[in-house]
Each structure stands twice: as structure tokens, then as C-alpha cells.
């Protein structure tokens, strides 16, 4: 999650105060990702140092609050960020995948039971998200979008567990392949 770029996005419409930005950040993520005010100000200082934003003492309001506005360089940076896909070419070091792969090597452990523990837990999490979405989504579009993202992410993990379960079951029924494994590992290359 790029707090830096989210703040640039919030400043793209009009200048704002730091506290306003924190509130907007939490609203924009359906209040799922809380953000402390210290992190907001540290990020704003860095953005100002890098020439992406400028600050001004408030003219309308008395007191020390600064108002921040985006610069032209900030707009270019924001536009580039929005249109650059995140790097997803390399598989992440996924803890759940590692647990299942490790279970295969531990004597006396049923990998199917390990898979089932995680499957059940993930579906329970999905039930909680579906209830929350059911209660809130009609009133809060942002929360509905975040809820969808989380449900699809968990869904994909459960589907991987299902596929792994079936693959391991098939493998247990088939004789092991005696051919040596190929040494070449393909790397994904994507145009960015």
C-alpha cells in the first residue's frame, strides 16, 4: 500500500490539511487500513522534500496548521504510479504455500489435514467478510470494493488449497516419475 501515492491522489483535487488527509485515507480504504497521524506527516515531509507537494501556512484558519498542495512534478509522479502495474512477476514468499510444502516433508503429518485446517479458517474469514459486506455495502461503496478485493483474494487461496489437495491425492495414486527433473527454471518476464 503506497501511502505516498494515496496522499498525492487526495491532493490532486484541491489543497488539504494533514488531518483531513488522514481522514480521507481511512475513508478511502473503507476504514480497513488505519493510518496514524505521525505517518501522514512524515510522508508529507518527504513528498515536500522531493518537490511533489508544497506547503503553506493556512490563510483562512488561525494556528500552526499547514495546507498542502500538489506540484506539477507531483501530478506527473501520480499519473505514472496509477498507470504502472505493480511487480507481480515473481511469486511472493507466501507463508501458507510454504506451510503446505513443508508439511509434505514432516513424517507423521497429514498434508490433507493441514490443508483442511487452513481451508476451514479461510472460509470462516470469508463468511465474516460476506456478513460485513452484507451489512455495509449498500451504504459504503468503498467498503464494498475493499470487501470484494479481500473476498476474491481469500477465494483464490482456498481454490489453490483445493487444487493442491486434488493434485496430492492424484500423485499418491500414481507411480513416481523416474525421469530426472529438468534443471531449467523458467522466469516470468513481463513488459512494464
Amino acid at each position: 500500500m503506497s501511502v505516498r501515492h494515496a496522499l498525492l491522489a487526495f491532493l490532486s483535487a484541491r489543497p488539504k490539511y494533514g488531518l483531513q488527509l488522514r481522514e480521507e485515507f481511512e475513508e478511502s480504504t473503507g476504514e480497513v487500513w488505519p493510518l496514524n497521524v505521525g505517518q501522514v506527516y512524515t510522508t508529507l515531509q518527504r513528498l515536500e522534500r522531493d518537490g511533489m507537494i508544497e506547503s503553506d501556512e493556512s490563510e483562512d484558519e488561525p494556528g500552526p496548521q499547514k495546507v498542502f498542495k500538489i506540484t506539477e512534478a507531483g501530478r506527473v509522479e501520480l499519473d505514472q504510479w496509477l498507470n504502472t502495474p505493480p511487480d507481480m512477476a515473481q511469486p511472493p514468499r507466501d507463508e501458507l504455500v510454504i506451510k503446505v510444502l513443508s508439511a509434505l516433508r514432516v513424517p507423521g503429518v497429514s498434508v490433507h489435514d493441514v490443508i483442511q485446517v487452513h481451508r476451514r479458517y479461510l472460509v470462516e474469514l470469508m463468511q465474516q467478510w460476506t456478513r460485513l459486506k452484507e451489512d455495509e455495502a449498500d451504504f459504503d461503496l468503498t467498503f464494498a470494493l475493499v470487501g470484494d478485493a479481500e473476498l476474491f483474494r481469500l477465494d483464490s487461496v482456498v481454490r489453490w488449497l483445493d487444487a493442491a489437495d486434488s493434485r496430492l491425492k492424484r500423485a499418491a495414486l500414481e507411480p513416481p516419475d523416474t525421469k530426472p527433473a529438468p534443471l531449467i527454471r523458467r522466469r516470468l518476464v513481463t513488459r512494464r
Binding site: V32, Q116, V117, R120, M126, T130, R159
Partner: protein
């Protein structure tokens, strides 16, 4: 009250060494207003569970109770009456009759049960209205979208006094938006007291249920509970 109970239900196909075990000593209880999803890989016994619960097939051993009545003590006619009056089925491929309008399809189980056709049609139309399909009552199945056809099929399954809904992959042929709409209708029906058993391989859709039962090789998949830890039981992720 328990609408559906399975006690130690087993089902074998074939005999001797070639017998295939589809279900083994299965226990399941579904109360009024409860939404149960059944998940499991192909061949795990999900569909067999549904056909036995709906009295379309008999178990090799064990007992099934629908509304407190044991199916093994019922004759063919009693079971047929039970299926018409107490149980609604929903299939993946909708199974609507192409020559009947949406309202006529919904009214059909009532007519088969002896309700005069005009009255059956009135009830059919009001059931469609409850599912926001009033403007589709006169349409034929080929004039409806996939999502609308499945909603009509659910209306047909819920029409009359039926309190037990059995659905086999009801959203399998639908896109995610229509699949979610179908699950929402079943969810709402359960809030009004219907008990539902929905077989699905789709975790997203199973997450609508109050309870999820996992089947594996004809049995409920038992595995130790997740170890309570930093990540377990927390509904919302934080940026960390």
C-alpha cells in the same frame, strides 16, 4: 426445530469389492432459518448427500428425517407428496420448462399438488414479485437471462409452504454478479425461516452460509482446529 436430519447415512453403489462408497456414516442437521453450504471436491459425496436428503435416492443405511418424519417409513406416494409440499430443489442448469412462462413454471408444483390453476398462478406471481421478478412473470425461459432463469427456479423451489431448499451448484452457470444475487435470495429466504442446503465448490458463494460442511471421500472432513494465534480469528486485516 430441525427441518432435516441425517443420522449415520451411508450410500454404496455396486456390491462386493467393486462397491463405491459415496457417503459414509454422515450426520447432518439443518434447523429452520439455517443456511448450510456443503463443499468438497468432485466425487466427495456432495450431490449424493443432496439427492438422499431430498428423498430422490435411498440410503444404503442410516435414516433421514424431513420435518421430523422418517423417510424410511414412508411409501412412494407419501414421499412424492413430501417432495411437492416440503422440499424445493434448485439445479445448476435451472430445469425450467421451456413451453411455460415464468409464472406458470413457478405455479407448476402447486398445480401438481391439486391447487386450482388460477389460484396457483396468483401464488406464482406473488412469489416472483417477492424476488423482484414481477415484470418477468409472462416471459418464457428463452426470453430471460441466465440470472433471471435461476431466480425463477428458486421462486419455483420456494413457492407454497415449502421450508427446505436443496440446491446443487445453483450459481455454477452464472457470472459472479448473478451468482451473488442468487446466494442473496437464498440468504434472505433463510432469514424468513427456510432451511437451505447448498452444494457448491465456490468458496465465495459458500461464505454466504451460516455453516460450512466440508466433505472428503464421502465423510465430513475432520481436521484439528486452527491454532489460535496472532492471525487466527481476526476478521479485518491491518497494514502491519
Amino acid at each position: 426445530m430441525s427441518l432435516l436430519e441425517l443420522h449415520q447415512v451411508s450410500k454404496f453403489y455396486g456390491e462386493g469389492e467393486t462397491a463405491v462408497r459415496a457417503l459414509y456414516e454422515m450426520d447432518l442437521s439443518v434447523d429452520e432459518g439455517q443456511f448450510v453450504a456443503v463443499m468438497g471436491p468432485s466425487g466427495s459425496g456432495k450431490s449424493t448427500l443432496l439427492t438422499i436428503a431430498g428423498s430422490l435416492e435411498e440410503p444404503s443405511s442410516g435414516e433421514v428425517y424431513v420435518g421430523g418424519a422418517a423417510l424410511s417409513r414412508m411409501g412412494r406416494n407419501d414421499k412424492a407428496r413430501l417432495r411437492r409440499r416440503a422440499i424445493g430443489y434448485v439445479f445448476q442448469d435451472f430445469n425450467l420448462l421451456p413451453g411455460l412462462s415464468a409464472a406458470e413454471n413457478v405455479a407448476l408444483p402447486l398445480e401438481l399438488d391439486g391447487v386450482p390453476s388460477r389460484r396457483a398462478l396468483q401464488i406464482g406471481c406473488s412469489t416472483l414479485e417477492r424476488l423482484a421478478l414481477a415484470d418477468r412473470a409472462g416471459h418464457y425461459p428463452d426470453q430471460l437471462s441466465g440470472g433471471e432463469r435461476q431466480r425463477v427456479a428458486i421462486a419455483r423451489a420456494l413457492v407454497g409452504e415449502r421450508r427446505l431448499l436443496l440446491a446443487d451448484e445453483p450459481s455454477g452457470a452464472l457470472d459472479s454478479r448473478n451468482g451473488e444475487a442468487v446466494m442473496r435470495i437464498i440468504f434472505d429466504a433463510c432469514r424468513s425461516g427456510v432451511g437451505a442446503v447448498v452444494v457448491t465448490h465456490d468458496p465465495h458463494l459458500a461464505s454466504w452460509a451460516d455453516r460450512v460442511v466440508f466433505l472428503r471421500d464421502g465423510r465430513v472432513a475432520n481436521a484439528p482446529d486452527a491454532v489460535a494465534g496472532a492471525s487466527a480469528g481476526r476478521p479485518l486485516a491491518s497494514p502491519g
